[in-house]
């Protein structure tokens, strides 16, 4: 079973996504901030990460920067789920190696799931 890690501080969103993903047959993990996210990441070595940008302790960009410095987790695909969707932000995420950027208000869980499937399959 493929493992997906959701790093998202908004509990409702995290729970909803988790539910959607588990329903689709993935193994879902959740972390409420970047620090916790990196910790779990190194433990479980997920197949894909859904990453928020604005978070307490460590933000999404910092998580990606740290991943880029760590060979063991460097290649895990990351999909950004961001709140603002400002071009500057999206471009920065892409430059740091994110596969895709989804703006929360424009996408719904089904579409997020579709993106997940697109990148790692079932």
């Amino acid at each position: 079973m493929k493992k997906i890690l959701i790093i998202e501080d908004e509990e409702v969103l995290s729970d909803l996504l988790r539910k959607k993903i588990e329903k689709e047959g993935y193994e879902a993990y959740a972390a409420p901030d970047g620090e916790e996210g990196l910790k779990i990441m190194r433990e479980i070595m997920p197949d894909l990460i859904l990453l928020d940008i604005l978070m307490p302790k460590k933000g999404g960009f910092e998580v990606m920067e740290e991943m880029n410095r760590d060979e063991t987790i460097k290649n895990i695909p990351v999909i950004i789920i961001s709140n603002s969707g400002q071009p500057v932000e999206l471009d920065k995420a892409k430059a740091l190696g994110a596969k895709d950027c989804l703006v929360k208000t424009e996408f719904d869980p089904q579409e997020v799931l579709d993106k997940v499937k697109e990148y790692i399959g079932k």
Partner: protein
């Protein structure tokens, strides 16, 4: 002998007496008369008692004296006439002099009055001038007054403090001279070295000090008649510098507040959207039809809220001046087609038809911020659909020439009332006639559209008739690299 002697002496006496009477007495009389005449007495009497030659002489003398008397009298008369004349003339003259003196006195008085008035007026003018200078000096706006030869004639305190200069450093200088004055170079640079009229253009002088600069020509004559104004003689130019740092700060805070609030609102709105979507998709469990219908309505309300928040964020970004991002070459017709697709559900629901007329010849690409131009097309389409009745038609067409592409979207909808046409592009504006029929609009769409098109150096306008429909147009300049190269 004695007798002879006596006879002799008697005859001598007689002879003498005769001689005396005939000659000596009249001569003596003449001498006396002459003496009298010498004294000025012409009335001395000449006694003529002889018919001798002497008598004749005396008679002539008397005649002469008489003549003299007559001529003397004539002279006296002439003299007295002359004297009368002189007196009369003198009288006349003195009257004239008196009159003149009166006139002069009056004139002197008048003149004195005038001088007094003039002194008063001058004092008043001076006072007014001082008041004006005091007013100008204590104005919170900086003021540069240039004379008709474009030389600086006055600078007030505020103007001095804005640029940290002393009046003696700059008075009499022209704007071009400002180029060489370090503190004034930013102003010179900002005005491009010209005193052409300008209205409230912003200039950041230093960190935390932003001013708005206006250049106003001054002219003599009435200001209420605009046509006559052209003929008015230019007397100088006024450069007004106003500190707008505080306004800028407040504006910035307001924009940041809106931006922050909108961001904060997006998270819960996302949560609602996701939860509703999953409920509707039956991810959480089964729901009945009625529940589904309600959930669908809540979902749509939430979508509207998201739309409003996005509009508010866009407005905030426009006002923060960080709205446009990346310019990439795109085909406008393709962007339009994909935007139309996002309205498919809505179009089907209202049974409307959208006709996209693309020219046969491929249109040139335009270099734009594609996301933002997408918003413009989205907003125009959204309005056209919302404000049209069911089953009506919307037509989108393009035209282009060597410098720009024109986009046109025509609907047969509600139209814009004449009285409101001016306000279409203002913030939070909504047509009176459409508020009743469609409650969804935010009143921000056209404001955002205009700002986006303006930022692309394009134009946006419309033609509309109430109850008949509206056509909106916008143009986008074609980025022509070759032409650009020629210019640079």
């Amino acid at each position: 002998m004695i007798l002879i002697a006596a006879a002799g002496s008697l005859s001598f006496c007689v002879i003498f007496l005769i001689f005396y009477r005939l000659i000596i007495k009249p001569v003596l009389n003449l001498i006396n008369v002459c003496r009298e005449i010498i004294k000025g007495n012409l009335n001395a009497e000449i006694k003529i008692n002889s018919r001798t030659e002497i008598g004749e002489l005396f008679s002539v003398f008397a005649d002469m004296l008489e003549e003299l008397k007559i001529s003397r009298a004539n002279l006296e008369e002439a003299k007295s006439i002359l004297e009368i004349k002189v007196i009369a003339r003198t009288q006349e003259l003195s009257e004239l002099i008196a009159q003149q003196e009166k006139v002069i006195a009056q004139k002197t008085k008048d003149l004195e009055e005038r001088i007094k008035d003039s002194i008063k007026a001058r004092a008043k003018t001076e006072e007014e001038k001082n008041t004006t200078i005091a007013v100008i000096s204590s104005l919170v706006d900086g003021l540069f007054v240039f004379d008709k030869n474009n030389r600086l004639s006055f600078i007030n305190h505020r103007g001095q403090s804005f640029f940290n200069i002393e009046p003696q450093e700059v008075t009499g200088k022209t704007l071009s001279d400002f180029k060489n004055i370090k503190q004034l170079f930013p102003l010179y640079n900002f005005l491009n070295g010209s005193l052409e009229p300008l209205l409230q253009k912003e200039l950041e002088l230093k960190e935390g000090l932003t001013v708005s600069v206006s250049v106003v020509p001054m002219s003599k004559g009435k200001h209420n008649n605009s046509s006559a104004r052209m003929d008015n003689e230019k007397t100088g130019t006024l450069v007004i510098v106003r500190d707008i740092s505080r306004e800028k700060l407040v504006e910035k805070m307001k924009t940041e507040f809106v931006s922050l609030t909108a961001h904060q609102l997006r998270t819960p709105l996302s949560a609602i959207k996701w939860a509703l979507r999953m409920l509707l998709d039956k991810d959480i469990g089964k729901i009945n039809k009625e529940q589904g219908a309600f959930l669908e309505r809540i979902y749509r309300s939430n979508e509207r809220m998201i739309h409003l928040i996005n509009d508010l964020l866009n407005v905030a970004r426009i006002e923060e001046g960080r709205f446009l991002y990346q310019f990439t070459p795109i085909q406008l017709e393709e962007l339009t087609a994909s935007t139309i697709n996002s309205f498919n559900d809505k179009i089907q629901k209202k049974k409307m038809k959208i006709k996209l007329i693309v020219p046969e010849k491929k249109m040139p690409a335009v270099k734009v911020d594609a996301e933002k131009i997408g918003i413009v097309i989205f907003n125009l389409l959204d309005n056209a659909i919302d404000y049209s009745s069911e089953k009506s038609k919307i037509e989108i067409s393009f035209s282009s020439n060597y410098k720009e592409i024109t986009f046109a979207i025509k609907d047969n909808g509600a139209g814009i009332p004449n009285s409101q046409k001016k306000r279409i592009f203002s913030k939070f504006f909504r047509g009176e006639n459409v508020i009743k029929m469609e409650t969804e609009g935010t009143g921000l769409g056209m404001f955002i559209a205009k700002n986006i098109i303006d930022a692309h150096h394009g134009k946006i306008w419309f033609e509309s008739e109430e109850k008949k429909g509206t056509t909106f147009y916008f143009t986008l300049p074609i980025e022509n690299e070759d032409r650009k190269a020629l210019h640079s």
